[in-house]
Amino acid sequence: MMLPLADARMVRRWLRDVASRKRGDFAVMLTLFVLASLLGLVGPRLLGVLVDAVAAGRRPPVDVLAAVFLAVLLAQAALRRWAHVRATRFGEHLLATARADFTEHVLRLPIGTVEEAGTGDLLSRATSDVDRIEYAARYAAPEILTSSIAVVLTVAAMLVTSPLLTLGMLVSVPLLMLTTRWYWRRANPVLERMLAAWGDVQASATETVTGARTVEALGLADRRVAHNDRALRAAVATEHAHRSLLARWLPTLDLAYLLPVAAVLAIGGLAYRSGLAGLGDITAVTLYLLAMSAPLVELLAWVEELQVGSVGLRRILGVRRVRPARDGARVTPSGRDVQLRDVRFAYRDGHDVLHGIDLDIGAGERLMVIGPSGSGKSTLARLLAGLAEPRSGTISLGGVDLRCWPHDQLRGEVLLLTQEHHVFAATVRENLMANGDDFRLHDVLAVVGADDWVRSLPEGLDTRLGPGAVSVSPAVAQQLALARVLLADPPVVVLDEATAAMDNGAARQAERSVAAALAGRTVISIAHRLDAARDADRILVLDDGRIAALGTYDELVAEGGSYARVLASHDSPVR
């Protein structure tokens, strides 16, 4: 499943909201840009006045006019600077709001949605798309704003100077409109394919680089080079497609601004003879025309970036369309027994991975779940933690169907700890996400076997972890994750291979002390290491989504069967 995209209407509404919160800044910014552009139009007009005067043999006060010109120029520069300051203030506000909005909404997403969509999609929204809108907001938007203001005002100035001469502009209007529309229709899909193709090239190169050892060990160098060449060929093909579009479209832009020069000269010649236009008017209008080429080119060049940015914004705002996690009224369970009735689950229609599980887990019981890879152990764990809902059948906690529990209340009751470990680029304390006092934190860290490590850090609990700071081994990451769960201290804990990254000795040690710390809690643990099997109250053997056996350790061994052999082998004195 893909996370949704915001539609154009949502983006517009969002932009309007953000702009209206900074209405003052926005208005001042626009006014400043307009004023600066207006002052920029004084030059050609002034030259027109001079040309008229020279032609008429008058002697205007040249020095005064030059001083005025200079003053206008300095004022224009000052206004531009001021406008720039306001524009960045507004733009940064917009970006900060977008980033904060995104993070806030992401933190409200239901876990099920996140798991279905995969973190890749969200991650690319949080990074590439944020980068895209930053580029668009910092560079493209201001350029487009100033250029379009300049173009509009220049046309206005031409009209004021001489409506008749401005008619010369008309020759380029249809040309510009038709060809630009032609180009954009074709360019958009090509650009999309082009971005995707270069993304593939980068992905291929990144894999070759990060997997360089594997490439050598398995002799894959030629294959990887060929893989890269294939990706490059695809990217070059899209570049060629874009190139041929540009090669046809760009010449029309040149024509669009040079043809009016010829038209203005022609109209000007006739108009001057019949006294409809002065030499100064003709001068000013042609100079305006020539001056318009720069903003026009800028405008068209940046529109592409703005489009890329708006796609990014649609992806970023898209998370708002996901319904946030359940927030219902609190439920009042009776007791904490867990009950599964005929639970079935499928990731794909028609492919059940759990086939009607019936199970009662008493409060405070230690249940160990074993079974071959792919037998549905982890699926069962996720269902028990309420991260996914059974296709049919029910799971209840304290007599209340898990589907009825509000998210916030349920996670106070049941926590799932998997072997997936993430260490936040934050302090140890922040990674533990608890507000307990230092004594409690150190106690818990000691239970999971990480206290010596934390105490050896330069700033103890306040040491920053993660990339660029103290690096954390997978084993320690798992210890921290265990500590996090102990601090949250929920009545029901589901451990899915929670110690797989530690070496055998440390894992057994941690399991033992965690078990002690969780005394009295319901603990459902999934493991492929069977060392702790003897300590469990009951062992559940899953096979192909069905309960193959359920009972105490001694019962299972006595019963015989394949699992008894595996259990026995772990008791053998080999080690």
């Binding site: 001079l50 020279v54 032609a55 993070t103 933190l107 949080a126 040079l258 030499l279 996670r411």
Partner: protein, 526 residues
């Protein structure tokens, strides 16, 4: 290098570059002359000629700009693609040496940034030639009309444009420093997304949102500060070149009033001094692009100069069959058997020639063995090996000595393939993230088995699978690799049972090996 590789293309870009810029450059001169000689003089017949000239110039420019874009784009592709191929080709060639010599992130950045920088520099070539040509032409014409005014325009404009650079260099540095903070907030957002399951599961949203808000506000403030810095640049870009236009107009107006130059000349000067900013700016941008490319090329060059850590020996020896030993007489793994050692990556790397050592294979020091043969016949598979994105069937078939189906069966991974909607045609996502840890581990194992190396060294090959599956894998691999040398570095008891202790375990009680039944004879070539 790229410029000389395709001389025709380079020449085309240069000619088209000139053609695309010259018409715009001389347009103010043409307009000035047209106003002087025909409109003001009332010579309508001449005007048609001038209009014809403008139209002609327009067509030349349009055609040239199309050709220029085509040629520049081609050069960009050529530059970026050849740089990218060089980077990836060399990275693949360096193999295990690469991560030891250069940070992975740096090499990845070469592929995503440096190669584009190199392309960008090549791309500017045509436009730079156009800029230089048009500047020269306008220079000659202006100086011919009035030496004084021409000189003011020609010296003033470049000075004004170039003057912005050093004036703002300190500001530029400050800006760069502030820019670096921008990435901080993106990194934090990514971190929150990566740990989202934990945050949503355990409940640390508010705390982390608070942390994010603090950084986000700081980045916004840094951005506003950058804007303030940049605003001086925005002002200078208007004021400095504008100043030259003011001076030219002022001097020109005085000359025109004195009758020294015509009104048309005045227009020409005004337009030309406004135009001259364009070629100078193009040249500056080209210089910037060139310096960015130089830095990028320096980085790429540093990569290309790296040589594999272990050279081909001066007199490479063929690789014999035989036991693996750490030193003369110190046999670690007898030939043709399954040996189990405690997990020790350094040991594994010494035994297989990934780290410098005195290790021997069949009595020949590894460092004297032909490198290609060593890599082909002695394989070390590590737990964090890379599973590449692509179709499962293709990605698993690293070799064809053992069929993928047999390898999958030996690694007990048939259920992994069966669970994929399109079976062998299913596409694995990057780094095999779409399969679970245990499934990934079995696929890695199967991939190595297809190559059927004479010596296979496996590091913890079954640490992420359940005991039942592990037992099956151990059994099947022992059977599949009968008579071949297999070393497993693991703490798993099941492997140890399989390699039940025959002969003296050379490295403490943890190591054991099992005689290979029947076929293999130590030291004998197969």
């Amino acid at each position: 290098m790229v410029l000389t590789a395709r001389p025709g293309l380079t020449l085309t870009a240069a000619i088209a570059g000139a053609g695309a810029m010259l018409p715009t450059a001389v347009m103010p001169l043409v307009v000035g002359a047209a106003i002087d000689t025909s409109i003001a003089a009332g010579e309508p017949a001449d005007l048609a000629g001038w209009i014809g000239l403008v139209l002609g110039l327009a067509i030349v420019q349009a055609v040239a700009s199309g050709v220029l874009n085509w040629a520049s784009h081609t050069m960009w592709i050529h530059g970026a693609v050849s740089a990218e191929r060089a980077v990836v080709g060399h990275a693949a060639h360096l193999g295990a040496t690469l991560p030891k010599r250069m940070a992975t992130g740096e090499v990845v950045a070469m592929g995503s940034e440096d190669v584009y920088d190199i392309g960008n520099a090549v791309e500017t070539f045509g436009r730079t030639i156009g800029a230089l040509t048009s500047f020269a032409v306008v220079a000659v014409v202006l100086v011919t009309i009035t030496p004084v005014l021409g000189t003011v325009a020609l010296v003033g404009v470049p000075l004004a444009v170039l003057g912005i650079g050093p004036l703002l260099r300190p500001l530029h540095r400050r800006k760069e420093a502030q820019r670096e903070r921008f990435s901080e907030v993106t990194a934090m957002g990514a971190d929150i997304v990566a740990g989202l399951r934990i945050l949503r599961g355990v409940g640390g949203e508010r705390q982390h949102l608070r942390r994010f808000t603090v950084v986000n506000d700081r980045v916004r403030d840094a951005g506003v500060a950058v804007g303030r810095t940049e605003s001086w640049l925005a002002a200078a870009e208007i004021a400095l070149p504008g100043l030259i236009t003011v001076i030219v107009t002022w001097l020109g107006a005085r000359l025109a009033l004195d009758g020294a130059i015509s009104p048309g000349d005045l227009i020409a000067f005004y337009g030309a001094s406004a135009f001259l900013v364009v070629p100078v700016r193009t040249a500056t941008e080209a210089a910037d692009a060139a310096s960015a490319a130089r830095v990028a090329a320096g980085r790429v060059d540093r990569l290309l100069r790296l040589a594999p850590e272990f050279d081909q020996p001066a007199q490479p020896m063929p690789l014999p069959e035989g036991p693996l030993s750490l030193a003369e007489g110190d046999v670690v793994a007898p030939a043709g058997r399954l040996t189990v050692l405690p997990p020790d990556r350094a040991l594994a790397q010494r035994l297989t020639g990934y780290a410098d050592s005195d290790a021997l294979i069949g009595g020949v020091p590894i460092r004297d063995v032909d490198r290609a043969e060593l890599r082909r016949r002695v394989m070390l598979v590590l737990g964090d090996d890379h599973l590449f994105a692509g179709r499962v069937g293709e990605e698993l078939a690293a070799g064809d000595a053992v069929s993928v189906a047999d390898a999958i069966a030996a690694a007990d991974a048939s259920d992994v393939i069966d669970a994929l909607p399109e079976g062998y045609d299913a596409v694995l996502s990057e780094r095999g993230r779409s399969v679970s840890g245990g499934q990934r581990q079995r696929l890695l194992l199967a991939r190595a088995l297809t190559l059927d190396p004479d010596v296979l060294v496996l590091e913890e090959p079954t640490s992420a699978v359940d005991a039942h599956t592990e037992a099956r894998i151990v059994e099947r691999i022992a059977a599949l690799r009968q008579g071949q040398t297999t070393v497993v570095l693991t703490s798993s008891p099941l492997w140890r049972v399989a390699a039940d202790a025959h002969g003296v375990a050379p490295h403490g009680p943890a190591a054991s090996s099992r005689d290979a039944p029947a076929t293999a004879q130590e030291g004998a070539a197969r």
